[in-house]
């Protein structure tokens, strides 16, 4: 079976983000990139699935982006993915554009099972996996914390408000991974050396027009210092007044 994992790279969560001079993108200078953490769960689940079903299964990792994404793809190869595809795109794409490019590639590779992270922690749209499923007419289970594949049948547990639900569906399908699905492995040193010899295929991403446009990007306002109104119960009336009239929260 052919399994695809769609991965994206995101700024390291420890990075201090700066807005670029165009006020529409982040300033890439000094930013270190990592695999989107949810995508690591997706990679791990794909590798586990491959190990379980054995045979001549292949795990592809696919990403849309520029040359800088290669390092991230290399890391996925080091974890154990078999082949990587970089869909090159010079212009920024919105979620639909990215999903279209990925869906085209998944179709041409003939992958029946697709893993994505439930969202990427940079733009946080959280819809790419679902869009791909829609475009390919695949089944889709999102925010998955437990996954089983028996023959064609998928049993997946997903997180819902206040609990979990168990969903049954079948291949072909897109699964989006939530934290808790598994414990992603480290790339072993042997894996890193082997990844050196694996191929990252480069293809142009299919062109598509964007449905959305970023008009402006700005940092959240810096937090105002707190105010102490008093330290005993005499401060309560003033606190209530301010919560009502100034903060407008009660």
């Amino acid at each position: 079976m052919k399994i695809a994992v769609c991965i994206s790279q995101v700024p390291d969560t420890a990075t201090r983000i700066k807005i670029g001079s165009d006020h529409k993108s982040i300033d890439p200078n000094g930013v270190t990139y990592i695999i989107n953490p949810y995508d690591e769960f997706a990679i791990e689940e794909a590798l586990k699935t491959k190990e379980k079903i054995g045979g001549d299964s292949i795990v592809y990792v696919i990403s849309v982006g520029d040359d800088s994404v290669k390092e991230t793809l290399r890391k996925a190869l080091a974890m154990g993915a078999d082949e990587a595809v970089l869909l090159k795109s010079s212009s920024a794409k919105d979620s639909i554009g990215i999903a279209k490019a990925l869906a085209e590639e998944i179709k041409s590779l003939g992958c029946e099972l697709v893993f994505c992270g439930k969202q990427s922690v940079d733009y946080d749209s959280g819809i790419t996996g679902q869009l791909i499923a829609e475009m390919l007419d695949y089944n889709c289970v999102s925010v998955v914390v437990d996954f089983k594949l028996e023959g064609n049948k998928i049993t997946a547990e997903r997180e819902i408000e206040g609990g979990r639900e168990v969903v049954e569906t079948e291949l072909p399908a897109v699964i989006t991974a939530q934290k808790g699905l598994n414990e992603p492995r480290y790339a072993s040193l042997k894996g890193i050396m082997a990844a050196k010899k694996k191929i990252i295929a480069e293809k142009p991403a299919v062109d598509s027009s964007s449905f959305t446009e970023i008009l402006d990007m700005h940092l959240p306002p810096s937090k105002q210092p707190g105010r102490i109104l008093g330290t005993d119960k005499s401060a309560v009336p003033e606190l209530v007044r301010l919560l009502r009239e100034e903060a407008k929260v009660i």
């Binding site: 420890a14 390092e71 480290y186 072993s188 040193l189 042997k190 890193i192 050196k196």
Partner: protein, 389 residues
């Protein structure tokens, strides 16, 4: 706490290959997740975190430069050095474990062993299924191991081993000991297996240093070693010294990890600790310390990199390894002590790693050739006068 992102003032990063960087980052992440959160607890109770063995093996940290047919990763020596560096940012004791397993057990079996010995031991040592130790030092012979008393005697079905070793890392937990003993006056290497009759390995207690590492005595009382457990290609003390040279190389890199941990801790502390009117980082005396540390770290990093490149080209002289081991251990200890000073009283607590590193580095400065021995090795090289005796 802020995530550790390395110490690199001279953009040395750009001198490593992509693989070397990736290997370093992987081990760094492993250390961050698996070692740093637990190490103070194990250090406090003087216990080696034995559960790390299989995890380190899975990552491929044992014998990583050896051929893939033994299950190893076939890395170059710079990558090996970076592994040691990252491990020792966690703890010198954990790095010691990996050093001994790789440089002092797998290396001699690979270099001086028979095909059968290699095929049997190396894959098991790589997966951590078997643990090894290296017995050279004796109670009365440390800096001059050539005087060793431990002796092997040829008997009908092998060799009879008598004597004692001391200060042996991993001794008590080892499945196999690479033991150096005199056979007809010539130092040879033997593989002594756990539970062989007459062989005991009691742990040495009461250490103030390398507390998260096992240190043991090895006692041999008429231990019968089968013929097949002699390392056939050993032919003198120089073979034991070749092993030490491998391990020293790893130590030269390793201690830079300890330096980085101490510097990083001190820098962050100094920026946030306010005394009088300002953070202590704003006082010249503190800046002098921090700048000294960073400068020494940078020098050690560049020294190591060139050392590794020479080793990969096969051009390395053992006296160069001595210089790196000597310099880097001394500077690491200095940096750890300075860092402790900057932290004031907090520096002595195990909430911070600096006192543990400082205590550990006392051992690291002594084992694998003391500071003085390396001085004499380089001294002889440049003057032509041996000054050992």
């Amino acid at each position: 706490m802020k995530k550790f992102s390395g110490v690199d003032y001279f953009n040395i990063e750009t001198l490593y290959t992509d693989e070397e960087r990736m290997i370093r980052d992987t081990v760094r992440e492993f250390v961050e997740n698996e070692i740093i959160p637990i190490i103070e607890e194990y250090n406090r109770k003087s216990e080696f975190p034995v559960h790390l063995v299989s995890k380190m093996a899975e990552l491929g940290l044992f014998g990583p430069t050896l051929p893939s047919k033994y299950g190893c990763a076939e890395l170059n020596n710079v990558a090996y050095g970076l592994i040691m560096q990252e491990l020792e940012r966690g703890d010198s004791g954990i790095r010691s474990f990996a050093s001994v397993q790789s440089a002092l057990v797998m290396y001699p079996i690979f270099t001086f062993g028979s095909e059968e010995q290699k095929d049997f031991w190396l894959p098991k040592l790589a997966t951590g299924e078997k643990i090894g130790c290296f017995g050279l030092t004796e109670p009365d012979y440390g800096s001059n191991p050539g005087g060793m008393i431990t002796r092997a005697e040829k008997v009908e079905d092998g060799y009879l081993l008598n004597g004692a070793k001391m200060w042996i890392t991993n001794g008590t937990i080892a499945d196999v000991a690479v033991v150096w003993a005199k056979l007809d006056g010539v130092v040879r290497g033997f593989l002594v297996e756990k539970n062989t009759k007459g062989f005991t390995a009691p742990e040495m207690k009461g250490k103030h240093s390398l507390k998260a590492s096992v240190t043991s005595e090895l006692i041999f009382d008429n231990v019968l070693i089968p013929e097949s457990n002699l390392l056939p290609k050993t032919e003198g003390l120089k073979n034991a010294l070749m092993c030490l040279n491998q391990a020293r190389y790893g130590i030269a890199w390793g201690v830079v990890g300890a330096m980085m941990a101490c510097y990083d801790t001190a820098l962050n502390y100094a920026k946030s600790r306010v005394q009088f009117s300002k953070p202590i980082a704003a006082y010249q005396l503190t800046q002098e310390k921090l700048v000294y540390m960073l400068t020494e770290i940078t020098k050690a990093q560049l020294l190591n990199l060139q050392l590794g490149r020479l080793k990969d080209k096969g051009l390395l002289k053992f006296t160069q390894v001595s210089m790196a081991k000597r310099n880097n251990c001394e500077k690491a200890l200095e940096i750890a002590r300075m860092s402790r000073e900057i932290l004031g009283a907090n520096g002595i607590l195990d909430e911070y790693p600096v006192m543990r590193h400082s205590a550990n580095l006392e051992s690291v400065k002594t084992y694998e050739g003391t500071h003085e021995m390396h001085t004499l090795i380089i001294g002889e090289d440049i003057t032509g006068f041996p000054a050992f005796d």
